[in-house]
Amino acid sequence: MSRRGIPQVPSRFHRGSETFRFLLLVMVALIPIVLVAVLGPTWLALVVLGFGICALAARAVQLRMRRLRDPELSVKMAPPHLGEAAERRVLVVANDTLSETSLLGEVRRLASVPHTHVLLLVPALISPGERLTGAGEDALAQARVRLSRALGRLGADRDIKGEVSAAEGLVAVEDTFASFVPDEVLVSTRWERAAGGLDPRLAGLVRERFAVPVRHLVFEFGSVAQEPDQDAEARYQREFGDAAAWRFGLRALAGAGILAAVVLSAVALITVAERNQATAVSQRVAAQALPTPADATGPPAKVIDVSVIPEGKKGPEGAMHDDFTVSEFHVTVGRPLTLRIDNTDTQPHSISSPEAHVYIIAQPGTHGYTLLVDKPGKFEWHCEFLCDPWAMEHVGYMRGFITATPS
């Protein structure tokens, strides 16, 4: 930022080295995501992307918490007084309140004291996004207009100067301690932070860091100046400090939890969709393999009727449990077996055997499905939809075997 002349918005991207580091970081972060997206399953790409986003969010939260936390050293500092002993230098920090007649009256009163120099400091209200990209000309122009109008209304007969700063409020004040060296600071805000307005917490931050008297005057539209009482200052104070940092951290953690839940749900949905797609492909392959009416030379396709009945079968302990009425399936390798499954439940159930590459999802109602196994062996299947926990663990209920014999 140039202290003299027109200030520029300080952006890290104005420096080539910073820009290069940022681009390098983005490329390094993108490489695993792209590799996984191309070579691996979709869910893994989503998980890697989620990790990347979480890492970025964690860094942003860390920076924000660092800004909120109490200063490590509770020492107020100030440079020696500048000029003759009789001189007083007053710094007035304002932006959106510069249009208030009562503030200008206060500035006139301060400047009317002999040997008093007043500096109107107007920190431009640049959003973090604008600050990152180096934009913010609008905010600077708005600050210049406000300062120019205020100086015009104050008149040129008093020792009042003005300065627009592209730095954030506290940094702008800090810069002024190196150039103007104020003996007193007056921070002018609204009661609550408004869009396009200075943060009322700024006064407390300045008071905490500089060993000069700091006054906080609050101006509402058209009203006289008011000084926040201790309760109001305490409330502003609570919005900063270690406790506020931890509150923010906890909120961020909760947000991360919600984001993780959304990502995991998306991964689960994609996984199920991929399995359904695999089943559909398997069924299409099976349909092609089934003998057509024209192909009447082969034996007719066998159809097995199966029902899924909630609490349809008594367990050894006497309680009723969910069951598939047929839990043992015998197939020939490569030869499709048609299952007519009557799922009498209101939720889907499945015959899932990852080892045999079988994923049949039985939707409620009666539908036809194809069981096709591509290798010989005895494979255990189970229902992977959460239903009767006991039945899901016991063969003959929601679990069974598929025996595939070589053709």
């Binding site: 490590e72 050293l73 500092m77 100030a78 440079p79 020696p80 007084h81 060296v181 003996d183 060993a211």
Partner: protein, 148 residues
């Protein structure tokens, strides 16, 4: 012995630096103002009751005390924690003069602790502090403090 590594270094001004240890905010600001108008850069610390842990109780040390030319202590030495601060200041920064505001009644332990310190009477006003600082450090010519 290697110089202690203290980061950040809070003093930014080349002028003589006075650290004021004063728990009362208004009194600290009054002393700071008087010192500033006499040409000193000032730091005001509320002592161990400030935010968090007093850095003097940790291994890193106190950066403002490390960089100070003189320390004014008005912590009230009835409390053990204040005496601990004084003890640490003396042990860690033996080359930095200490100007200590002492109570009217001093016990033997405090007497021993204050041995070698410059003393101020209890309830000394800002002008008295400035006079004492000037007698220890000498008068300071005023100039542009902005040069860091």
């Amino acid at each position: 012995m290697a110089a202690p590594k203290i980061n950040p270094q809070p003093w930014r001004w080349n002028h003589p630096r006075v650290l004021v240890e004063e728990p009362d905010e208004a009194a600290g600001l009054a002393i700071a103002s008087a010192l500033r108008f006499s040409g000193y850069a000032v730091g005001v610390c509320p002592g161990p009751q400030g935010h968090g842990q007093c850095p003097l109780t940790g291994p890193g040390g106190c950066a403002p005390a490390h960089g100070a030319d003189l320390i004014v202590c008005s912590l009230g030495y009835e409390r053990e924690v204040a005496r601990e601060v004084l003890r640490e200041l003396r042990a860690r920064y033996p080359g930095v003069p200490l100007l200590v505001e002492v109570p009217s009644e001093i016990d033997a332990e405090l007497q021993e602790l204050l041995d070698g310190c410059h003393r101020l009477p209890a309830g000394a006003g800002p002008e008295q502090v400035v006079t004492a600082v000037q007698s220890l450090y000498g008068h300071v010519s005023q100039g542009n403090p902005a040069g860091a």
